[in-house]
């Protein structure tokens, strides 16, 4: 296994601290994620997979513990800078895909670049490259609601890749896909790993966590990782 890319040390996330409805979706988790591996987080519903993914991807800050991204502790970084780290490092694929209806495939793919200091033409060029890689060229001007499920899935992946992230984080990516499309998706993830990217998938879909393509599975229960470094 290559160098550590992301490293979590005793990370805890508490909601509603000190109140009767206090929850700890992530509790004292330590986890190392290397460069160029496919890691699956599995576990029953409510075990904290999504929360852990959000912590890894710098979407939320931990209540305690350290999170190192490229050797840098980001646990206490103000939101403004945390977003910067997230933009530079991660691409997200969500369970519901969350594409924006009413605008074209190309615009959806370009969207993460809008707030960055990149010219419009350069952004468009990158988006065209990615739509081509993912076989969407013939659909690039379509509104997303006119696409099939598989095509939408690929638009979401193109969008996650537009900022050239080192890691792709996917939350239940196969939840709405049939077996065929799920297999296709795993192929795409494997290609990405081939390009040196790290892929972290949170899922309880056996098609994913039993797939031969993945490197490692971490099982979660009640906010803890059971057999972390398996």
């Amino acid at each position: 296994m290559s160098r550590k890319m992301i490293s979590l040390e005793n990370v805890t996330r508490v909601y509603n601290q000190g109140r009767p409805n206090e929850v700890r979706p992530v509790n004292e988790v330590s986890l190392d994620i290397g460069h160029g591996e496919i890691l699956v987080l599995k576990g029953p519903s409510g075990s904290g997979k999504t929360s852990l993914l959000a912590l890894v991807g710098c979407m939320i800050r931990p209540t305690s513990g350290r999170i190192l991204v490229a050797e840098r502790d980001v646990a206490k970084l103000p939101e403004r800078f945390l977003t910067g780290v997230r933009r530079d490092t991660f691409g997200f694929v969500f369970q519901q895909l969350h594409l924006i209806p009413g605008i074209s495939v190309l615009e959806n793919v370009m969207l993460p670049l809008y707030p960055l200091e990149i010219g419009f033409t350069a952004a468009k060029r990158r988006a065209l490259e990615l739509t081509e890689q993912l076989g969407l060229t013939h659909r690039k001007g379509f509104k997303v609601e006119a696409l099939s499920g598989g095509e939408r899935q690929r638009v979401a992946i193109a969008r996650a890749l537009i900022n050239a992230p080192q890691a792709i984080l996917a939350d239940e990516p196969t939840a709405h896909l049939d077996a065929g499309l799920s297999g296709e998706l795993m192929q795409i993830f494997e290609t990405l790993r081939g390009q040196g990217k790290t892929v972290v998938i949170a899922t309880h879909d056996p098609l994913v966590h039993d797939s031969p393509l993945i490197d490692r599975v971490a099982t979660m229960r009640d906010g803890r990782i059971l057999d972390g470094d398996g």
Partner: protein, 399 residues
């Protein structure tokens, strides 16, 4: 400051415009209400501005010093003897009595100004620079004729050779033949003007022979006007000297007051609109909320969303502003501010058609902007911020 990239702002602006277009039906209502408000306000500002310019143009031509007589706090006829006294003051040139008065016409419900023309005709010092459009002036000694302004001609439906009948002080109808039509650089004060031979005018109002309506005083040195006014007051305590500057101020205040009244009405409307704007900005629809959530999740930062919202607000306000100002301009320019007439009525029944110079006044636009766009933008700050601080991980849990 810092490394600024225009591309970033342009892209966010582009997205703001495209997302507003996607929701055009939702925004349309707001734009319309906003534009209507801007329309109302710009009509008021343009109208009062135009009236003021008109009035000031007229005043340019009015006499340096006008002396009236006040009795019981009201304007009274002035004895000609006063004129002789004033003429003896050092620094005073000629003193010319003026004969004029108001006439209320029950048939048209209009107020006319009747002005007597003496033997010097219109060339007398300080009189209004009237320009004859058609016909001829009143000759010395000529009686029972009149000249009318274009406004009067329109209302009365008379032309040259026609008759104007006026009821005199004894209640008898008198007929005057129209021998000329005139115009002046400003239509404000001459539109309701009828010129009569001086003798006819005095007979019409039943004025005593030794009285005039007021006196026009020529002052050699304009800087001496105030001094001479003071001297007149010392000698004639019931005289009321009105200097050029003073008339000017009266007009200014009058127009500002009229305009102010209208503005006060507008303020109420604006307050209501602010509440609407706040409400609209706060009540984001479910899919707008979702969209902001997605943007945050894919790497947009709070300040990016704030910028997006600011652009949206600015675009909406600008569209409404431009539409409202254009409509307001057309309203005043082309349609004589018809919708505002009910408020201005009673002030001058024969209201002149207004010639708004077709020019863009940055000051008026700045003032309009500060009264409309600024409050709107301020009203949307807090709602925009509330939308912008959506948790980025929210969409990961939305079902």
């Amino acid at each position: 400051m810092g490394s600024y990239h225009l591309g970033r702002h342009l892209k966010i602006l582009e997205f703001a415009l495209s997302s507003m277009l996607r929701r055009r039906t939702k925004n349309l209502g707001l734009v319309l209400v906003f534009a209507a408000l801007v329309f109302l306000l710009s009509s008021i500002v343009f109208l009062t501005g135009a009236l003021r310019t008109e009035a000031l143009a007229t005043l340019e031509a009015s006499p340096q010093l006008l002396v009236q007589r006040a009795m019981a706090g009201r304007h009274a006829l002035i004895p000609l003897g006063y004129g002789e006294l004033i003429a003896r003051l050092p620094g005073v040139g000629s003193v010319t009595p003026r004969y004029w008065g108001y006439y209320y016409d029950i048939y048209t419900g209009a107020n006319y100004t009747l002005l007597g023309i003496g033997d010097q005709g219109l060339e007398s010092p300080g009189s209004t620079p009237l320009r004859l459009v058609e016909g001829s002036f009143i000759m010395p000694g000529q009686r029972r004729v009149c000249l009318i302004g274009e406004g009067v001609a329109e209302v009365r439906g008379t032309r040259i050779g026609g008759m104007v009948s006026l009821r005199d002080a004894r209640g008898w109808m008198q007929e005057y033949e129209v021998i000329g039509l005139f115009a002046s650089p400003s239509r404000l004060l001459t539109n309701d003007l009828i010129l009569l031979p001086e003798a006819d005018l005095k007979a019409h109002f039943g004025m005593p022979d030794d009285r005039a309506t007021d006196l026009m005083v020529e002052v050699y040195n304009p800087h001496e006007v105030d001094n001479i006014s003071r001297k007149i007051l010392e000698r004639l305590p019931d005289a009321r000297p009105i200097s050029h500057a003073e008339i000017q101020r009266t007009y200014e205040t009058l127009f500002n007051w009229r305009g102010g009244l209208l503005l006060a009405m507008f303020l109420g409307a604006m307050a209501a609109f602010m509440i609407l704007a706040w409400d609209k900005a706060t009540g984001l629809s479910a899919d707008e909320r979702r969209e902001i959530g997605i943007l945050k999740a894919i790497g947009w930062e709070t300040s990016d969303i704030l910028e997006l919202k600011l652009w949206e607000g600015a675009a909406l306000a600008l569209v409404a502003f431009l539409a409202g100002v254009t409509a307001g301009y057309a309203h005043v320019q082309r349609f004589g501010a018809e919708l505002l007439m009910p408020v201005l009525e009673g002030w001058s029944t024969l209201f002149p058609a207004i010639d708004l110079a077709p020019r863009i006044d940055p000051y008026a636009l700045g003032v309009l902007f500060s009264l409309t766009v600024v409050p709107y933008i301020v009203a949307t700050v807090v709602p925009s911020w509330k939308a912008a601080i959506t948790d980025p991980d929210r969409v990961m849990r939305a079902s």
